[in-house]
């Protein structure tokens, strides 16, 4: 599903990623580990087409990210570590997700309810004014409502309460998620132990460990 070939990335004259080569198959649940500054977030940003690699190629499915950005990103749903201060109202954010991300607003609301959040009650509120937990629930709800084949979660449960974490585990363990590829960046290994099938560890921008679980 994801192929990364000889990826290098330099930021502010410092090499952050060096010679990363990975092949991630359909249905794999991969946990990325590494100390702060190991290159995990940079790798994800390269995968999302937000950083241009110095050299190397990335394919999502058969689509090269460099030449077929829209087709490649159509397969990916992403939840960031910290919900950004988006100034859209919830209604507007849902419209963006639905029209650009090709998903249904009803499905987003249904997922939000599953997390115990009535999105309709907050539809005119600006997203950035919601609490951290509410924002995270909304972003996870949007991700799960998309018809993506790859899910990228960067510390997805960092802001969630215990109920939210349970719901998240239930969703990623659901039968329909078996064929989906999931990439986690998390330091909470114990939370994801039952789901993860492969661990990749980065250190100083290189893969230092890559093994099945």
């Amino acid at each position: 599903m994801i192929t990364i070939q000889n990826l290098d990335k330099t930021l502010s004259r410092q090499k952050i990623l060096s010679g990363i080569t990975l092949d991630i198959a359909d249905g794999e649940k991969v946990l990325f580990l590494g100390h702060n500054g190991a290159g995990k977030t940079t790798l994800i940003r390269c995968l999302l087409g937000e950083y241009r690699p110095d050299c190397g190629k990335i394919f999502v499915g058969n689509h090269p990210l460099a030449g077929e950005r829209v087709e490649a990103l159509r397969k990916i749903a992403f939840v960031p570590q910290l919900p950004p201060p988006i100034r859209f109202t919830l209604n507007e954010l849902f419209e963006y997700a639905a029209k650009i991300g090709h998903c249904s607003i009803d499905k987003i609301k249904e997922n939000s309810l599953y997390f115990g959040l009535d999105a309709d009650a907050h539809k005119h509120k600006a997203f950035h004014k919601l609490s951290g937990g509410m924002k995270q629930k909304i972003l996870i709800s949007i991700a799960f409502s998309r018809d993506a084949e790859v899910f990228v979660f960067d510390e997805p449960t960092a802001n969630l309460d215990s109920v939210g974490r349970d719901r998240f585990r239930e969703l990623i363990g659901a039968p329909e998620m078996r064929r989906k590829t999931i990439l986690f960046i998390s330091h909470r290994l114990e939370e994801l132990a039952k789901v993860v099938t492969r661990i990749i560890e980065l250190d100083l921008g290189k893969v230092v460990r890559d093994e099945p679980v």
Partner: protein, 275 residues
């Protein structure tokens, strides 16, 4: 085209709620109302009277307020979205960079144009109610000049935003550009002419290349002005090219500069890291 219009619509709605937009719209609407209430439209100064006098003052205000407002709000919002990782999330969706960039441009243009058009319509409405004579040709040409001038500064604002890495730097450059352009209108150019610091032709070329000065000459040229109102550099250019020539040049030049900077900004946006 659908994603482009979705992004334009959402950007417009978001800006519509923001405090800077309310302030921006209020400045123009209050300006028109104040000018009417102060009786400026009934006065006769240097040969101008009624609505034409109001438009002349409106031009001077726009010449100073519009560039700084557009530059600051554009560079602040775009650079802020990148700094706060809003781009990281919104650009992780399957949207082409062209649709995202030009959608933002369209949204911003609407945000800038709507208060300007509303204030001009307000002036028109009050003028009609009071039974004054409406200068239709001046109004149409002036509206076009305002629209193209906004496009120029929006283009410069977008170019600065995507070419710099932080909000602070973007804001600093925007303020510098504004100060430079304001300094190079007639006030400084008169000094250069008197001191003979540069060849006359270079000074006239500087005036024609400065979008603030170009807008100013063309806008005031609509009224067949006298030297004391327009200044010596502008008066010379107006005398050389004629009123129609200057207005046509201003419309073409402002539109060209705006599109040039927007296109350069798009090239930078496509080629550099998005965050």
């Amino acid at each position: 085209m659908k994603p482009l219009f979705t992004i334009a619509k959402l950007d417009f709605l978001e800006s519509f709620r923001s405090r800077w937009f309310i302030g921006y719209a209020a400045v123009f609407l209050l300006l028109v109302v104040t000018l009417f209430l102060s009786g400026i439209t009934e006065s006769r100064v240097m040969g101008f009277s009624g609505l034409t006098r109001l438009l002349l003052i409106f031009i001077q205000a726009c010449n100073i307020i519009l560039p700084i407002f557009i530059l600051v709000t554009t560079v602040r919002t775009i650079a802020k979205e990148r700094d706060n990782n809003v781009f990281e999330y919104l650009l992780s969706f399957p949207v082409s960079l062209a649709a995202y960039y030009w959608g933002k441009v369209l949204g911003r243009l609407l945000v800038i144009w709507v208060p300007l058009l509303l204030s001009l319509l307000l002036a028109l409405g009050i003028g009609l109610i009071r039974g004054g004579e409406i200068p239709w040709r001046i109004l149409a040409l002036y509206t076009a000049l305002l629209a193209f001038s906004s496009l120029t500064f929006l283009g410069i604002g977008f170019f600065i935003s995507v070419s710099t890495k932080s909000q602070e730097l973007a804001l600093g450059i925007a303020l510098f550009v504004w100060l430079l352009l304001i300094a190079l209108i007639d006030i400084a150019l008169i000094g250069f002419l008197i001191q003979k610091m540069a060849p006359d032709n270079l000074i006239f070329a500087l005036a024609l290349l400065n979008p603030v000065q170009t807008f100013r000459i063309a806008a005031i040229a609509l009224f067949d002005p006298v030297l004391s109102v327009i200044g010596p550099t502008s008066y010379f250019l107006l005398d050389t090219f004629g009123s129609t020539g200057i207005i046509a040049y201003a419309l073409l030049y402002l539109g060209f500069i705006g599109l040039l900077f927007l296109s350069l900004g798009y090239l930078v946006f496509r080629r550099r890291d998005l965050l």
